[in-house]
Symmetry: C2
Subunit: 349 residues, 2 copies
DNA sequence: GGGTCTTGCCAATGCGGATTGGCAGCCCCA
DNA sequence: TGGGGCTGCCAATCCGCATTGGCAAGACCC
């Protein structure tokens, strides 16, 4: 249990004070650059010189104990290995780092949400960014006393930031409709995620507006938003009787898997089948054919969430949701094309 | 500067002690489950009950201050958004979490290595895993007094874990040679990374053993190991006079970019040109054609590094490099094929 | 030259918990 | 029955830093 032999002796603020010939509180006043500190310029300089001379580095742990804040934020995500999430993390991390905060990355795939929250609490975390499944249904107590910002998961009790997920679905629907498609399928994860639900709803609502629907047999639920799942779903889709001319996948990974499977099965994409994804991960441009998708500003999502959380943490005013939804943008590429002339169904009059 | 109004009142060990009718040290002895603690069973139970009743959670910050350890590890990586690195991180994180340690993820693309080390020091980090460019050339002082484990970057002064990068290059060379290839190119990042150097060297050494070389004009250095760079490199390669029949890319992202560019330029892969990558990221199976590559056990690399670091941190004996290199494995897929009959050069006798 | 301010610094204390040393009370045995 | 040895608990102290209250010395004024 005991750690191995002590390492380098630490340089503390007492050492600085001693070398500068002042008391520890005086050194503290100077070094923490206290605004209302009344310290003679000469004294201040002596302290600064002493600190520089012996290479003083404040001990964040000690500072956290007195200040009751850790200068660290938690960031809980479903799976940081997903490219989209990784971008969200990168955006948040950058903002946090610039403000001098560390980020404790918590992966929901490794440990449940509530457990992460407990651990973050124990570490006296200053605030938590939650981009995780099930955040909205967490018991009140799990978040009590924490400063929280939700990502892509609106709730009345907490501020949050979100992308315009409904628009993502709508834009895709409109794109496919404009290409003449009338027979659709949908592939999406069965997770309890607001953003995914809205993507679905935006898609179907736009279809309805055009007098169309997606038959329930072509409404495929998969376990997670991963490539392998997209593949399985497409396999099922192609095995069923009839065939859609266009498929909307709730994210790019699913779409990549779906395209892959279609090609493997000899279904030409986009000639015989159009497939669209959502997120616009970097990879979307590197698969063949390049993936039609909707660009979601992932980094911006993370960055904005972090800024919002830092406002709370530092006691600055927080505008509730004021910023509105982050805009998304259709990116037509190579996996969607006009419906083939010999469409399975005659054109709707 | 002042944080906003205080949140929920914290439950401290003093509260537990008061409720159990014992002194704080006694409560501490019970709750920290001290091995040589001499506490009467009844007393112990009273303390435990009290703690449970009021929901006591030890304050990790306070514990860190006295214990001079933070139960946190640093993990410095070149870019956690790279799929390969993400797997290394996942492996390390899992091991750390199981031992009760948090991981502070530091991205070299956001801030230089030395700066990260400073920050980790200030947080009294218990140890650092370094999978970063330039770790070997760091000044002595930057790492002084830290417990360190290097990933894929052997150094005499520090323990480390590494994959058998030379074998990765060799296996690829042998694979391509067996397919009849004699005209090669290489694409790799110009970063100062041991693993990449070994991959190169392993490749070229195996070619030499077969009496072949890679002409310097086909030895392409790119800025980073990213898809876009692979693309650029292939563009240059195809623009130059003559053409190899096989290209070894130092990692999968480069290979994916290279394949993409070749296809775009009308060069059929693998018919006209074979391309091989390295890492076997998940994506390698999802591009078209599927990528031939060498599987590097990324998660295992991270996990093993974390275990090694934890041994040091907890003062258990550390076997120097004892474990040896992690084995790698060729994964032949769709981007490599026998050299076409009408090869640019006659078969070497 | 004795008050009243101001300025500049420091003593004391707290944050939450770990650890050490020691002191009662009890048992046991000679 | 008195002393030795345990056992079980607590008082005191420390970790490194931030903050408050106050005190002494000098500036200023009448």
């Amino acid at each position: 249990m005991a750690p191995s032999a002590a390492a380098a002796p630490r340089v503390t603020i007492y050492d600085v004070a001693a070398r500068a010939g002042v008391s520890q509180p005086t050194a503290s006043l100077v070094l923490s650059n206290h605004p209302r500190a009344r310290v003679a310029p000469a004294t201040r300089q002596r302290v600064l010189d002493a600190a520089a001379a012996i290479g003083y580095r404040p001990n964040v742990v000690a500072r956290s104990l007195t200040g009751r804040r850790s200068f660290a934020l938690g960031l809980i995500v479903p799976d940081f290995r997903s490219p989209f999430i990784a971008d969200v993390v990168a955006g948040a991390e950058r903002v946090a780092a610039e403000a001098g905060y560390a980020v404790l990355l918590c992966d929901q795939s490794a440990r449940p949400l509530a457990s992460h929250l407990e651990l973050l609490r124990a570490r006296q975390i200053d605030g938590v960014l939650i981009d995780a499944v099930g955040a909205a249904t967490l018991p009140e107590a799990a978040l009590a006393g924490l400063r929280v910002v939700l990502i892509d998961e609106p709730a009345e009790r907490w501020p949050g930031v979100a992308s315009d997920a409904a628009a993502a679905g709508r834009l895709t629907a409109e794109h496919l409709l404009a290409l003449g498609h009338r027979e659709f399928a949908f592939i999406g994860p069965a997770v309890d995620s607001h953003a995914y639900r809205l993507r679905e709803r935006g898609f179907i609502t736009a279809l309805r507006a055009a007098g169309l629907t997606v038959p329930s047999a072509r409404w495929l639920r998969v376990a997670s938003a991963a490539v392998a799942e997209g593949r399985d779903a497409m396999r099922r889709l192609l095995a069923a009787p009839g065939r859609p001319t266009a498929v909307f996948c709730a994210n790019d990974l699913l779409a990549i898997g779906a395209v892959k499977q279609a090609l493997t099965a000899g279904v030409a994409v986009p000639r015989d089948l159009s497939v669209a994804g959502c997120d616009d991960i970097e990879l979307a441009r590197y698969v063949t054919p390049e993936l039609t998708t909707v660009r979601i500003p992932a980094r911006e999502l993370g960055a904005r969430a972090a800024r919002l959380l830092l406002r709370q943490v530092e006691g600055r005013p927080v505008r509730r949701e004021g910023a509105g939804l982050l805009p998304v943008q259709l990116v037509p590429r190579g996996t969607t094309a006009p419906v083939p002339p010999a469409a399975p169904l005659p054109q709707v009059a």
